[in-house]
């Protein structure tokens, strides 16, 4: 063949042959069986489900820790917990929520499961790396809790400022474990970021040009880029902290030229974009659900996508806004105030576009849409208090008080947890093949929303009445008692809301009505796959004709044919216009990513105790990685036979 191009042809296919193909693809794509098979799995739906369940388990654990804090704070000068225990609990709550729940759930879990389906391919790019990243995330989280249960949980806050977390003021292994947990989670987030970018850049269905990529996928791509650019900040900051603690370096020691603010600059270079990493996926979910339940294309697609990208950029100009009280020059104060206010413009644009979608659409009030409406209420309030903290003089008053605690819970729970529950209700039928109960869904929504507002709204007032953050108790005469008690009561409702959700999941998994492939009549490609998707996702790889692939499909929308189906072959397309340009193979299941993750975990944990563990652990790690990439003889022979070389290379 002279032309290396995809060609549109007419084909007559028999039903029987498509059944045969389905059988064959099932055999080729099936996850390996048995106990060992479980550790070999590499399909994105398998790993994605594990990510979702694991991250949600960490959410519940961190939520219970919050309950412990609410109990302690319900009474002034209480001694239910020792200050040492309280400090561990609030540090664990923040660390687990940020590093083991919010980012893994909103970014890793959702994009691993959904992005390949939404762009119409059969697996995520680099599936073995994907499995590795999951195990690393799991092991990191389990180790953190293991340390916590033997009273060695980190106790320096989720930010672990130096010198408090440094060698002089935190003896023991607590801060080391915190720093290593960061390493675990950043490696796994970075791996998924690369996978998502490559999946979206190269594996999109033919016809899904840049301006037809679903908003959700855009959101995850922007998030992936932010992860790629932001994470190095915390890599460096936590590595320096660990070296100061274990190898006697002096990065943060002012006595010999070190600097305590260096840590804050590096940490917030990551830490501020982190907030957007958490809620950009949330807003992308909102755009998706709003379109489906308003029965129209989302209003202002271009404006929404540009807003996401603008948010991604501006987020990197804001890190100093966490450091207004450190005494920075007034010029940079003004710059960072302006940047902080500017980020309200893309946020506002998105909100106006959603309202326009709702107002011009035919709204269908189902559970996913309820969560989105709840999101509006909570997120807008959080955004408004964001303007208070963007203004330097006002921030100097509310910074590190309960006002800020209220602000970021409104932003993060509003921007991530509400959309997450909406996403669960929305994609549950796709993932499990069964519908959730509407009645229980409505109950959990109202319990959660009311409980949330009772818990967190009074915190605004507490902050303005002078209550600082991260205090394990407060004086009886301060006038903070009643509000704290109201908040603690709100927690109970919040807890019940989550409980009802869990009951709903439990019951629906067993007795929920069987879901069709597209129960909401939605337009995204993921709804073209079966519910739950077969291991090969799509029998016929789709092509795309518009932003909502299923709504905009032509009556005789072509399908993709001509890939080898005796191996896990994929189609690669061009970045801009998604024209087909090549074929490649997804790797088979294997145990090596699991082995590599075990070795890496041993290396990370060992290095807390003896720095030399890094050198020793590097050897088995290298062996595991070689095993991971080493091809089998048949594979090589088969491919050699079939190889078609790229022309004009």
């Amino acid at each position: 063949m002279s032309e290396q191009k995809a060609q549109l042809v007419l084909e007559v296919a028999s039903r029987e042959s498509s059944e045969r193909r389905a059988e064959n693809l099932t055999r080729v794509w099936a996850e390996p069986a048995g106990v060992w098979g479980w550790f070999k799995a590499v399909h994105h739906t398998t790993i994605g489900k594990r990510y979702i369940v694991t991250a949600f388990a960490f959410f519940l654990a961190a939520g219970l820790l919050a309950g412990a804090m609410r109990l302690q704070l319900a009474f002034p000068e209480a001694h239910i917990m020792s200050p040492d225990m309280y400090n561990q609990v609030f540090t664990m709550h923040g660390t687990v929520m940020m590093f083991l729940f919010a980012v893994p759930m909103m970014f890793e879990a959702l994009s691993v499961y959904l992005v390949p389906l939404m762009v119409g391919t059969r697996n995520i790019a680099f599936p073995r790396l994907n499995a590795f990243s999951y195990y690393l995330f799991l092991f990191g989280g389990l180790t953190l809790f293991a340390f916590f249960f033997v009273n060695s949980g980190p106790d320096r806050g989720w930010f672990a400022y130096v010198p408090l977390s440094g060698p002089d003021y935190t003896p023991g292994k607590r801060a080391d474990m915190w720093a290593q947990l960061i390493t675990f989670t950043e490696v796994s987030a970075l791996a998924v970021a690369v996978e998502v970018v490559v999946t979206v850049f190269k594996l999109r269905a033919p016809g899904m040009s840049l301006n037809r990529i679903p908003v959700f996928v855009w959101g995850q791509v922007v998030t992936a880029f932010m992860v790629i650019f932001a994470m190095p900040g915390v890599v460096i900051a936590s590595t320096m902290l660990l070296l100061d603690r274990t190898a006697s370096t002096q990065f943060y020691n002012p006595a010999v030229g070190g600097d305590v603010l260096l840590y804050q600059h590096l940490f917030w270079w990551f830490g501020h974009p982190e907030v957007y990493i958490i809620f950009i996926p949330g807003t992308a979910i909102v755009s998706t659900i709003i379109a489906t339940f308003s029965r129209r294309h989302v209003f202002g697609y271009m404006a929404l996508v540009l807003s996401l990208i603008a948010t991604g950029f501006i987020a990197f100009g804001l890190w100093v806004h966490h450091m207004f009280a450190t005494g920075i020059p007034q010029m940079s104060e003004s710059f960072f105030t302006a940047a902080s206010m500017m980020i309200a413009i893309p946020a506002g644009t998105q909100i106006f576009c959603w309202i326009a979608t709702v107002a011009t659409g035919k709204v269908v009030l189902r559970t996913p849409m309820l969560w989105v409406l709840g999101f509006f209420f909570v997120f807008i309030l959080g955004g408004m208090t964001g303007i208070f903290v963007a203004s330097v003089p006002v921030d100097l008053q509310v910074h590190d008080t309960y006002f800020v605690v209220a602000h970021f819970h409104y932003v993060l729970i509003g921007g991530a947890v509400f959309p997450m529950f909406g996403a669960f209700a929305y994609w549950f039928p796709k993932i499990t093949g069964r519908m959730m109960s509407e009645r229980l869904g409505v109950w959990s929504f109202w319990l959660f929303t009311i409980g949330f507002n009772i818990t967190f709204f009074p915190m605004h007032i507490l902050g303005l009445r002078g209550m600082p953050r991260r205090v394990y108790t407060y004086p009886a005469g301060a006038g903070w008692t009643v509000l704290n008690q109201i908040e603690s009561c709100g927690y109970v409702l919040l807890f019940l809301g989550v409980l009802v959700f869990l009951v709903n999941v439990w019951r629906s998994l067993r007795t929920g009505p069987i879901a069709s492939s597209n129960p909401w009549g939605a337009g995204g490609l993921e709804w073209a796959a079966d519910s739950p998707p077969k291991p090969y996702n799509f029998l016929d790889l789709p092509t795309v004709n518009g932003r909502e692939a299923l709504w905009d499909a032509a009556p005789d929308q072509p399908i993709v044919a001509g890939l080898h189906e005796d191996v896990r072959e994929m189609l690669t397309t061009r970045l801009m216009d998604a024209e087909p340009e090549g074929r490649d193979e997804f790797p088979e299941p294997t145990i090596w990513p699991f082995v590599a993750a075990v070795v890496t975990t041993a290396l990370f944990i060992g290095s807390i105790f003896r720095p030399v563990a890094v050198s020793i652990g590097a050897i088995p790690l290298a062996i595991a990685l070689i095993g991971w990439f080493w091809p089998t003889r048949q594979e090589s022979a088969r491919r050699r036979e079939r190889d078609i070389w790229q022309k004009n290379s």
Binding site: K5, A6, L10, A13, P232, T239, M240, G257, P558, R633
Partner: protein
């Protein structure tokens, strides 16, 4: 033949598309690029930290001599010159020229060993250690980061060389060889700013 036919439909036949693709048409290339961007970010922030610590310090370097120039400069020369054979085997890899790529990879392994040996000499001529001051710590951190890259790239080259002398030669291996060359470029290019910061900044910014 009881096959039940359905009506003909339009399909997009992709069977003619190549499966040995290079550069931006290969997903491995994109993956490697992603890794490079991340690592470049780490390097950039490490160098920024160096300059930040300098701005917070009254004397620089604090009470020690700057690193000796000799070995670092030799290594820089090796890095720059190594780009010639690297570019050669990278181009041959695209043509599927097995023997040239074999030679190129063996050369890459040898160059890797040479730079590591010179690097060892460099480390003994830094004139500071990491426990002395923040200056010493950041110098060692930056050097350590770069050594990690030298080591991983060397291991990768060795593994790939072994594959190229095994029955595993196939189109994908040539794509890997090209990636290996690109990654070496990354290691070299990141070294240039590091060289200037580690060796020349203490001389230029001396106070």
């Amino acid at each position: 033949m009881a096959e039940e036919f359905v009506k003909p439909r339009r399909v997009l036949d992709v069977s003619a598309l190549p499966d040995v693709t290079f550069a931006s048409r290969s997903i491995t290339w994109w993956g490697t690029l992603g890794m490079m961007v991340i690592e470049a970010g780490v390097f950039a922030l490490a160098l920024a930290s160096y300059l930040y610590l300098h701005s917070r310090s009254a004397t620089w370097p604090p009470g020690v001599l700057p690193p000796d120039l000799l070995w670092g400069t030799i290594n820089t020369a090796i890095f720059v010159l190594s780009m010639i054979p690297t570019e050669w085997y990278r181009r041959r890899a695209r043509q599927g020229d097995t023997s040239s790529v074999q030679i190129g990879l063996v050369l890459a392994c040898i160059i890797g060993v040479a730079t590591l040996l010179v690097r060892y000499k460099e480390m003994t001529h830094l004139n500071t250690d990491w426990t002395q001051s923040a200056y010493g710590s950041i110098v060692w951190l930056i050097m350590g980061l770069h050594i990690t890259h030298l080591l991983t790239d060397w291991v990768e080259s060795v593994v790939l060389t072994v594959l190229f002398f095994s029955p595993h030669i196939e189109g994908k291996r040539f794509v890997d060889a090209e990636e290996n060359a690109s990654y070496w470029y990354f290691v070299v290019i990141t070294w240039i700013p590091i060289y200037f910061i580690i060796y020349w900044a203490p001389r230029w910014l001396r106070s």
